[in-house]
């Protein structure tokens, strides 16, 4: 446990010492701001529904930037050999890194809370829907991060990690576009695997176990895959 925190802490300190963190924070907030006021302007509805939609769309583009270097850079710099020759379990390495990115991501989400304040101030929003909405997009981000982490564990190259992460995130995010062209079982699979099928429910205030299972099993799967690729040092063998 101590080591998980040590790695998470290191991960955060590396973020805040690199320009990436600040660029991501600033870009996110600026874009978010623009959308926020645009949405508020032509929509009197006092929920964060559209705001959450904008957030999850942003995450698809931002999260690969946060995760691409998590393992790739360690391998590139040779520090992976350091981590793996200390008496640290591979589980602790994976969880420490996951926690690090998750904390940074949570910080990003916390930065949006003032916007909730604005809405609360001017109207009477559906508090329950906002709470579940936050839970939903947080879980969605956590899922995206686990995908990015897994991809980053496969390769030494940050660019390759970023491109593959985009590929996977686009698949789970935009696969709803294939809805029209499929039918039967395929349609059902496409629908179930699409991330918006599940985040939608959270955003409108529905907390269902099937959606929770979707996110938790997705995260677990990606973390186990990450662990396996570290165990086998897959980046050395491909």
């Amino acid at each position: 446990m101590k080591k998980i925190f040590a790695i998470a802490q290191k991960e955060l300190s590396v973020y805040f010492r690199s320009p990436i963190a600040y660029v991501v924070l600033i870009v996110t907030i600026v874009i978010f701001n623009v959308f926020f006021f645009a949405i508020i302007d032509n929509n009197e509805e006092a929920t964060l529904r559209d705001i959450f939609k904008v957030m999850e769309f942003l995450f698809v583009f931002i999260i690969p930037i946060l995760t691409m270097k998590v393992f790739s850079e360690e391998k590139q710099m040779g520090t992976m050999e350091f981590l793996m020759t200390t008496p640290t379990q591979n589980n602790e390495i994976v969880l420490g890194k996951y926690l690090g990115v998750l904390l940074f991501f949570s910080f990003l989400i916390i930065l949006t809370i003032p916007y909730y304040g604005i809405i609360e101030f001017f109207s009477r929003p559906d508090r329950m829907a906002i709470l579940t909405g936050y839970i939903g997009i947080w879980l969605e981000g956590a899922f995206f991060i686990s995908i990015g982490l897994m991809v980053s564990s496969w390769t030494k190259s940050q660019i390759v990690a970023a491109i593959l992460s985009y590929l996977f995130l686009f698949l789970v995010y935009f696969s709803s576009l294939a809805d029209k062209y499929t039918n039967g079982v395929v349609k059902a699979i496409v629908k179930y695997s699409n991330v918006m099928t599940h985040s939608e429910n959270f955003i409108v205030g529905i907390l269902s176990s099937s959606d929770l299972i979707y996110f938790f099993s997705g995260i677990l799967f990606c973390l186990v895959m990450t662990r396996i690729s570290i165990d086998t040092k897959i980046w050395d063998n491909v």
């Binding site: 590396v14 710099m77 040779g78 520090t79 350091f82 020759t85 008496p87 640290t88």
Partner: protein
């Protein structure tokens, strides 16, 4: 202490290590010597449980490396070929991070960090970002992280590679100072390195151990000692004197000036201390001006092995 039994390692078709076996007792300083690609790094990575061997077993302090990787790593301090440093961290934060991952208890963490900072002469840069350090400093930070948990075994992969002579001197002094109770393994492709640091050398060639000897043994063993004596006297007398000394064989007599000659002798008997020869010179009234013994360097031994 360290026991390696029939270790082999293949990378696809490349056989990096072929049936390697050796033992290293506690407290010994051993050098792995070999050209690039000989398998030094691979061997070290197997000893640190970073890479699994394709076949064979290795034990450290009686524990099998494969079955107790975490326990083994607690006993090993390892400096990989490229010092594994985080450029955006300060030296002190990096060492603190290393201490945490290496199970240094929170209580001793600060003391231990301070200890290695001073042992590796890093106090003046402790708050600098690692990215800003010179190569010599970076290497010392690498060694500092390797020893921070007071490991029983220290494994250093080419610790002086790419440093300038002054930095090399610093790193060597640091390695020599590592307490004598520790077992130290150093790899290098530079011979003088081993001669200066190690007590024993394992020479690797294309994944095989081609020599495993104490340094003195390798240097002395298969060559006779060469002696150069500058003497003053008549040439016939000198020749006569050499003839009478059974322990030495005359190779050459070189005329220097007037009645000064340099006699090149070869010792045929390793135990002899040239007493016979000196007495015989005295008998023939040949004056000894100076004597110098030429030791075979490890380099010559090495070149022979690699012929």
């Amino acid at each position: 202490m360290i026991s390696v039994k029939h270790i082999s390692k293949q990378f696809g078709v490349c056989e990096a290590l072929k049936n390697i076996s050796f033992e290293i007792p506690s407290g010994e300083i051993v050098g792995f010597l070999g050209q690039n690609g000989a398998g030094k790094t691979t061997l070290m990575r197997i000893l640190t449980a970073y890479l699994p061997p394709s076949s064979g077993e290795a034990f450290i302090c009686g524990e099998n490396i494969l079955s107790h990787p975490v326990g083994i790593r607690r006993k090993i301090g390892y400096l990989p070929e490229n010092p594994p440093l985080y450029s955006t961290m300060t030296v002190k934060n990096y060492l603190r991070f290393a201490a945490r991952l290496k199970d240094v208890s929170v209580k001793y963490e600060k003391a231990q960090v301070d200890h290695v900072l001073s042992e590796c002469h890093l106090l003046e840069v402790k708050d600098h970002l690692i990215a800003t350090l010179s190569k010599g400093y970076k290497q010392r930070v690498g060694i500092a992280q390797a020893i921070i948990h007071e490991p029983e075994v220290i494994i250093l992969d080419e610790p002086t590679n790419g440093l300038d002579p002054v930095q090399i001197q610093h790193v060597r002094q640091l390695i020599r100072r590592l307490e004598s109770k520790r077992t130290v393994i150093i790899s290098t492709h530079i011979l003088s390195e081993i001669e200066q640091l190690a007590q024993r050398v394992l020479i690797l060639k294309k994944g095989e151990i081609v020599a495993d000897n104490a340094i003195e043994q390798i240097v002395v063993s298969d060559e006779k000692k060469q002696l150069f004596v500058t003497v003053k006297g008549k040439e016939e007398m000198i020749e006569q004197a050499v003839k009478e000394a059974n322990d030495v064989k005359q190779i050459n007599i070189k005329f220097l000036e007037d009645d000064l000659f340099e006699v090149h002798l070869e010792n045929t008997n390793n135990v002899s201390h040239y007493n016979q020869m000196i007495q015989s010179f005295l008998k023939y009234q040949v004056k000894i001006v100076s004597m110098r013994e030429k030791k075979n360097s490890l380099e010559e031994a090495f070149l022979k092995i690699h012929k």
